[in-house]
């Protein structure tokens, strides 16, 4: 049976929370008390349990199956992390309680910072960004502040390769920069000569993803960094793909000035159906002075939390100290893996992607065959030419086999891109089954069995949904049907 909406189950009388029903004999509301009705449906606890358990079963998840989503790094989320994040000493402390009463929290932030700086070989880290895109914003703000401090506020251009994540140009534009694209070479990587050609005294920074969104390590990254620095610009590195190289390559050694780290992609904090993320930003010596508040500093007797600096260039990008709950999870993960385990994880992630590429390349089209891939295997849709099956159709057919689709149509530089990132969490058994299924699908598509694809999915909780209708006539909230005066009565 279909699971009804909460508002079709509950009503304004039911409640799953018992609280004393206090009479207010007087109030201090100054006449601003509520006069309108909330009309908010409530349900008792047994009803709520069923509703959310049943709803959850309509979701795919890492724990129930593979998520070969390129650029998203859907890896295993250890439950020890969740347990540690719920220790009252972490979960039940207030961001504004006296610093003397949260020394353990500051120590944790310090320790996490040490790991991040060591893994990246950088000089500083700003922990507070709430997500990767927020980290990008902070990093670019720091670059902007640094350029201004150098008296170079006139630098209004940011270079962004065409293969970049959408957040990169959006972030640059958000800060008032104009975005200048850098074309990719035929082999999927960025040409240092193209970068040099694009550099000018108006360029504030380059935003480069490395390993890039085609799953390739930029072979000329050191030369690019040098050219960027020589031109007086900064090198922002999108760290979304750090999982491929952690413990193996240090971005600081490549010349980056700022890089955000997605704790949810690289350090196993859960995606949670779309967040919360956490996007600490590591900074080079040049940018370290422009880090925002707050940060932790070792004082004489104890750790200090610096929350305010007079005339600080950047200020503050969020109300409090960032995603503490995620810091706990990430540090727990780091300590579990250790430096050796993180490097092994990166290597396994790369091994898995290359294994998939090796097993499927005879059936799928590989747009950039020159290099071994890093943590992602990228295919394009040329193998589907003439079959009547689109990349989207192919992806939906994967659903019927129990797999989440791969990332599709991204990066934009590849036509009909299929970007597969297995991560290090998948066993060889699962990879083999995945490859078998993908091979069978490719064979079926080429054999003209297009119905398997164009009608897919048929085994999911829903068939394909009408997204056009959703956008044209947006229904963004439940409204009480005219014939139903009040819910559940």
């Amino acid at each position: 049976p279909e699971e009804p909406l909460l508002f079709e189950m509950g009503d304004t009388e039911h409640s799953g929370v018992d609280l004393p029903d206090v009479e207010l004999t007087r109030d201090r509301l100054g006449g601003f008390g509520r006069k309108t009705k909330l009309d908010l449906a409530g349900v008792t606890e047994p009803e709520a349990m069923r509703h959310y358990v049943r709803l959850s079963r309509l979701n795919h998840s890492i724990d129930s199956g593979m998520y070969p989503l390129g650029s998203c790094t859907m890896k295993h989320n250890p439950r020890l992390n969740e347990k540690m994040a719920r220790l009252p000493g972490f979960s039940d402390i207030h961001p504004l309680q006296p610093v003397s009463t949260v020394q353990g929290a500051l120590e944790l932030m310090n320790e996490l910072s040490h790991w991040l700086m060591t893994l990246t070989n950088t000089a500083a880290v700003a922990l507070s960004p709430k997500a990767g895109a927020h980290g990008e914003l902070l990093g670019m703000m720091a670059i902007k502040a640094a350029q201004e401090a150098k008296g170079e506020a006139h630098r209004t251009i940011v270079l962004v390769p065409e293969s970049a994540h959408g957040t990169n140009p959006a972030t640059a534009a958000f800060l008032g920069y104009s975005v200048k694209p850098v074309p990719a070479r035929d082999d999927g990587t960025v040409d240092v000569e193209a970068v040099k050609a694009a550099l000018s005294p108006e360029v504030a920074a380059i935003m480069l993803t490395n390993p890039n969104t085609c799953g390739l390590f930029e072979p000329q990254v050191i030369e690019i960094a040098r050219a960027v620095h020589d031109a007086g610009a900064f090198f922002y590195c999108d760290g979304a793909n750090f999982n491929a190289i952690m413990g193996v390559v240090r971005p600081g050694d490549l010349g980056i000035d700022a890089m955000h780290i997605n704790l949810h992609k690289t350090f196993s904090t859960p995606h949670g159906g779309g967040g919360p993320g956490a996007g600490p930003v590591v900074l080079s010596e040049a940018l370290a002075p422009f880090a925002p508040v707050p940060f932790v500093r070792r004082g004489d007797a104890s750790l200090e939390l610096v929350e305010h600096i007079e005339d600080q260039a950047l200020g503050r990008v969020t109300a409090f100290h960032g995603q503490m709950g995620m810091y706990v999870r990430a540090l727990t993960y780091m300590l579990s893996h250790g430096g050796d385990g993180l490097a092994q994880a990166a290597q396994d992630a790369v091994l898995n992607a290359n294994y998939i590429k090796a097993r499927l390349q005879h059936l799928f089209s590989v747009p950039f065959p020159d290099y071994p891939t890093m943590h992602e295997a990228l295919f394009d849709d040329s193998f589907l030419k003439g079959t009547g099956v689109t990349t989207l159709d192919f992806a939906k057919a994967m659903i019927d086999e129990g797999f989440h689709p791969m990332t599709m149509y991204f990066p934009l530089v590849v036509h009909g891109a299929m970007l597969i990132e297995p991560t290090e969490s998948e066993s060889k058994q699962t990879l083999d089954r995945f490859c078998d299924v993908m091979a069978e699908l490719a064979t079926d598509a080429k054999a003209g069995k297009s119905n398997r694809f164009t009608s897919a999915p048929v085994k999911a909780p829903r068939r394909r949904l009408d997204e056009t209708r959703a956008a044209r006539q947006p229904i963004l909230r439940w409204e009480r049907p005219a014939e139903l005066p009040r819910a559940a009565e």
């Binding site: 709520a48 724990d63 347990k83 009252p88 995606h271 993320g277």
Partner: protein, 447 residues
């Protein structure tokens, strides 16, 4: 390595299939100078029980809110979260799911978001809400930018009652912008914001209850703003107040931003939290963040999808309404479950209980020599003036095991006029014994 499924056998087999001599062969694109050119000075992998011991030791160095009387608020509030909420959000299919871009296998998350949006719209009294933002402070900055897009005007006026951290975030987002006017904080709950509105004003930003706990007149603000073609952005840091206070939407708000942490989410030392944003129907195409909408599937069954994504960065890139890529999905889930459990009856009772406990706190503080409660109005939070510098006083009380609130100087450093102010909050968890302990300690310290 407990999280890595391969044995060395399997690794060797896989390298064989790939045709690589060793793992380094797969890193051949990395410049030699940067590959394995270092010794990682980090500890090696560790058994679970040792990691747990380390983390417990760190946690043990913090004073948890539940360890004693607790009155800290000022933008984050300690409320009880039902055990069922935290249990449910840890369920694999919620916790470890990705953003619901593939709606056929994400209807759980999507229906929840649709319900969440409806709940937020209802409590704020607005037409529509998005699927959440990072937190209240970044949401406020986003609202300001949204108002500019909507009005094509530039001037933004921030009320002095806006949380100073929120003000700082808006300032960072609008760096060096001369059209941003930040009014001075006013501990007495007065604001001259209405006089600042002119023809170039995109929006005024008013928080209620304000940073000091005073309730603000939204109707007057809305009328004044609308008279000059400006928008009213209402900011709420304590969302429980909406159980007892009139909905901003009913008073003329154009955009409502709130910190949703109070419902379903723990204090967490400041994060992750939950930004709520609601607005009028006609403004949705300029709203940042994800939106979930109802539609039908190929069989005609009701279903939900992320929609209006042409506003977003992954489609529009540099022309997007915001660079935001995530929402606070799991925090939104916690909020939505807790709110579903509360319902109108519970949410209202919760708000009344908070207010009643705050009245008890105010009454008790009023009786302490040397303490002056500044508020005429409040919901569950108030500001007191004491006869000593507040910060060291709060520190001394902390040593007695009482977390007595936030000295205003922590948030407005350098402003000597606030050095003797403390903001204190009461919630449903505040007991008579807590208040008595505070009063006794304060009386001694101020004697």
């Amino acid at each position: 390595m407990r999280y890595l499924p391969h044995s060395d056998h399997e690794r060797a087999d896989m390298l064989g299939v790939i045709g690589a001599a060793d793992i380094d062969a797969l890193f051949s694109a990395v410049p030699k100078a940067a590959l394995n050119n270092f010794v990682l000075d980090l500890p090696a992998h560790s058994p679970e029980f040792l990691v747990e011991a380390h983390m417990r030791a760190l946690a043990g160095k913090n004073h948890a809110a539940g360890d004693g009387p607790f009155f800290v608020g000022a933008g984050a509030y300690r409320h009880h979260v039902p055990a069922s909420v935290d249990h449910l959000i840890q369920r694999s299919e919620w916790l470890t799911a990705y953003t619901p871009y593939q709606p056929e296998i994400s209807q759980g998350t999507l229906q929840m978001l649709f319900e969440f949006q409806t709940q937020v719209a209802k409590i704020t009294g607005m037409d529509v809400a998005n699927a959440s933002l990072y937190d209240g402070s970044t949401g406020t900055a986003e609202a300001v930018l949204m108002a500019r897009r909507l009005t094509r005007k530039n001037k933004i006026v921030l009320s002095g009652g806006l949380h100073p951290h929120y003000r700082d975030v808006v300032k960072a987002y609008l760096k060096n912008d001369p059209d941003l006017v930040c009014l001075s904080p006013s501990p007495n709950g007065q604001g001259d914001i209405l006089e600042q509105i002119d023809g170039n004003t995109a929006a005024i930003v008013v928080q209620t209850p304000d940073f000091y706990g005073h309730l603000r007149d939204l109707k007057a603000a809305a009328d004044a703003a609308h008279a000059r073609g400006a928008l009213l952005i209402v900011v709420i840091t304590e969302v429980v107040s909406l159980g007892l206070l009139e909905a901003p939407g009913a008073l003329g708000a154009d955009i409502v931003v709130a910190e949703g942490q109070s419902i379903g989410n723990a204090l967490n030392f400041g994060g992750p939290y939950l930004g709520l944003m609601a607005t009028k129907k006609e403004f949705i195409r300029q709203m940042p963040g994800r939106l979930c909408g109802e539609t039908v599937d190929a069989d005609g069954n009701r279903g939900f999808v992320l929609t209006l994504s042409t506003r977003e960065q992954h489609i529009r890139r540099e022309k997007a309404t915001s660079n935001i890529c995530t929402n606070s999905g799991l925090c939104a889930l916690a909020f939505s479950i807790h709110m579903a459990l509360l319902g109108e009856a519970g949410f209202t009772r919760l708000a009344r209980l908070n207010h009643a406990n705050a009245i008890a706190l105010a009454d008790a503080l009023d009786g302490v020599p040397g303490v002056d409660v500044l508020n005429d109005t409040f919901f569950n939070e108030m500001t007191i003036r004491v006869t000593q510098p507040a910060a060291p006083l709060v520190e001394r009380l902390a040593r007695r095991g009482i977390l007595a609130g936030v000295p205003v100087s922590r948030l407005l450093p350098g402003d000597a006029s606030v050095d003797d102010l403390i903001i204190l909050a009461a919630t449903e968890l505040t007991t008579k014994a807590d208040i008595a302990a505070l009063v006794a300690a304060l009386t001694e310290e101020l004697a």
